[in-house]
């Protein structure tokens, strides 16, 4: 089952760790908030995605089922 990254914007505090750990799918805007690529994460990159999710200090990054996959 494929998954994609989503951000809980109320929780996100612009620590930017997600972009450091997973630049393949996350870049930062001018204020340090993540701009995530909403497409399904390929299985080859899944370990990186999981690491970014786990490392988020505010638990704002999630993997959810990708409906469009």
């Amino acid at each position: 089952m494929s998954k994609r990254l989503v951000v809980d914007w109320i929780k996100c505090d612009a620590h930017g760790i997600c972009a450091e750990l997973f630049p393949e799918r996350v870049r930062l805007d001018d204020w340090g908030y993540p701009i995530v690529d909403g497409r399904a994460v390929p299985s080859a990159l899944m370990a990186h995605a999981r690491r970014a999710v786990t490392a988020c200090p505010t638990l704002a990054l999630h993997l959810e089922r990708a409906d469009d996959a």
Binding site: V7, D8, W9, I10, K11, C12, D13, A14, D29, D30, W31, G32, Y33, I35
Partner: protein, 439 residues
């Protein structure tokens, strides 16, 4: 289509009104007068009558009139199937400074709104109704409160319905913010899912429905889906309450058949596309259209959607040809930025940057590259918030970039145009009495 008869009700059965107006008929001073005009409200006794009402609303094709245009029947069914004693929230708080239609409807036909809430509550099996009004809208609150008091006997318990006065904030009327406030918290949006229809007031499945939608439900319950479709288009039956403002002789709230042309809409208010520089449709959640765009579209959700616009809450503003679209857009963008609930970074910082770039452009002291920055920020901010405020602001400004493209270029290259100092057309809250609280 099922035929329902009021049982045991004193009021006679009367035929549905022909043509328009149907929602904004002359006011009825009392509930008795209201019953004489519209007939009794079906009692919806038993499971099959309740299911029949939901089927009738589904068959009617009614869509939510608060801005989301979600199919009403489907929402009713989702809440009815959610179990756990649902709750109904009647949303009459507009939040949108350019919109007055819900306030007008509640003052003019409070009993239709109440009828709709009662019928919707019976249909989904709810025992509690919250009527929400903007706390600055004391006229609507007073009329609704009196109407509710006169019908207290219709509720099983007096505490089964209550009037909630919502802070006058732009995002407070958003479903999740509204439910959060009813639950005793601040009127700020929360992260969804779960959406209110899944888990809302006190954790129960909650039907949040705009008051105009409820008034339509009240009419469908009495006269049926076929009658409902005698006005409007096949795709989108019914009438649309519309606030018409700007370069028109008689600004105000009008009731139009869904699918009416914008020439009809402006004409009814004493204006015309020929004397209009641009048209704002859908309020500050909406988009600017050129008069040519507008003449090819119509007052209906689907048509506007296909044209890259939205019906929103039914606001139509005619911008006079001599007004500056850049200056008008800038004022609204700053307002929307200042109405951010302050919870989501891209909204807080992105909308502020967008408004700042627009202010520099409107005032004529924008550095070279400001338009490029503006366009990049618009691309970055879209879709990145708990609620749709950032998306709405971006859609609004992007439509301005298209419709007023030449004016933007002029402002960046040569400074402010001669029209930028004209009196503002789009309404904003009075700074002296503005509500800054979410509590």
């Amino acid at each position: 289509m099922s035929q329902r008869r009021p049982r045991g009700a004193a009021a006679p059965r009367v035929p549905g009104p022909e043509g328009l107006p149907r929602l904004l008929a002359a006011p009825c001073a009392t509930h008795a007068e209201h019953l004489t005009r519209y007939g009794a409200l079906p009692a919806l006794r038993g499971r099959s009558e309740r299911a029949g009402l939901i089927a009738e609303v589904e068959a009617s094709g009614l869509r939510g009139r608060g801005g989301g245009a979600f199919p009403t029947g489907r929402k009713l069914r989702a809440v009815a199937d959610g179990g756990r004693s649902p709750v109904v929230v009647a949303n009459g708080a507009e939040g949108e400074p350019a919109s007055h239609k819900d306030s007008m409807l509640m003052r003019r036909s409070p009993h239709l709104v109440i009828d709709g809430a009662i019928v919707a509550a019976r249909a989904v099996g709810a025992e509690t109704i919250h009527f929400v009004v903007d706390r600055a809208d004391t006229p609507a609150r007073d009329v609704l409160a009196r109407a509710m008091a006169s019908r207290a006997a219709e509720m099983a318990r007096p505490e089964a319905w209550r009037l909630v006065e919502l802070p006058s904030r732009y995002v407070a009327g958003e479903e999740s913010a509204l439910v959060n406030f009813v639950n005793g918290n601040e009127a700020r949006p929360v992260t969804v899912p779960p959406r209110p229809y899944e888990r809302g007031v006190r954790g129960r499945p909650t039907l949040v429905q705009n008051v105009e939608t409820l008034a339509d439900i009240a009419l469908i319950a009495r006269y049926g889906a076929t009658w409902f479709g005698t006005v409007g288009t096949n795709d989108e039956p019914g009438s649309v309450l519309t606030t018409v403002l700007g370069a028109v002789g008689r600004p105000g709230v009008y009731e139009f058949a869904s699918g009416s042309s914008f020439e009809t809409v402006l004409g009814a208010a004493g204006g015309s596309l020929a004397t209009t520089g641009a048209v704002l449709v859908g309020g500050y959640f909406g988009s600017w259209l050129t008069p040519a765009d507008a003449s090819a579209l119509a007052l209906a959700h689907g048509v506007l959607r296909r044209g890259g616009a939205t019906l929103g809450c039914g606001v139509v503003v005619a911008l006079p040809p001599e007004s500056c679209g850049v200056a008008e857009t800038t004022r609204i963008a700053r307002y929307l930025s200042s109405e951010s609930a302050g919870q989501c970074g891209p909204c807080v910082h992105g909308l502020d940057a967008v408004a700042g770039a627009l202010e520099a452009l409107a005032a004529g002291h924008a550095a070279v590259g400001t338009l490029a920055d503006l366009d990049r920020w618009l691309g970055d901010v879209a879709g990145r918030g708990a609620c749709h405020l950032p998306d709405a602001a971006v859609g609004f400004v992007r439509s301005a970039r298209r419709v007023f493209a030449a004016d933007f270029d002029h402002h960046e290259r040569h400074g402010a145009c001669v029209h930028a100092q004209r009196p503002p057309v789009l309404p904003l809250p009075d700074p002296a009495t503005r509500d800054w609280s979410f509590r």
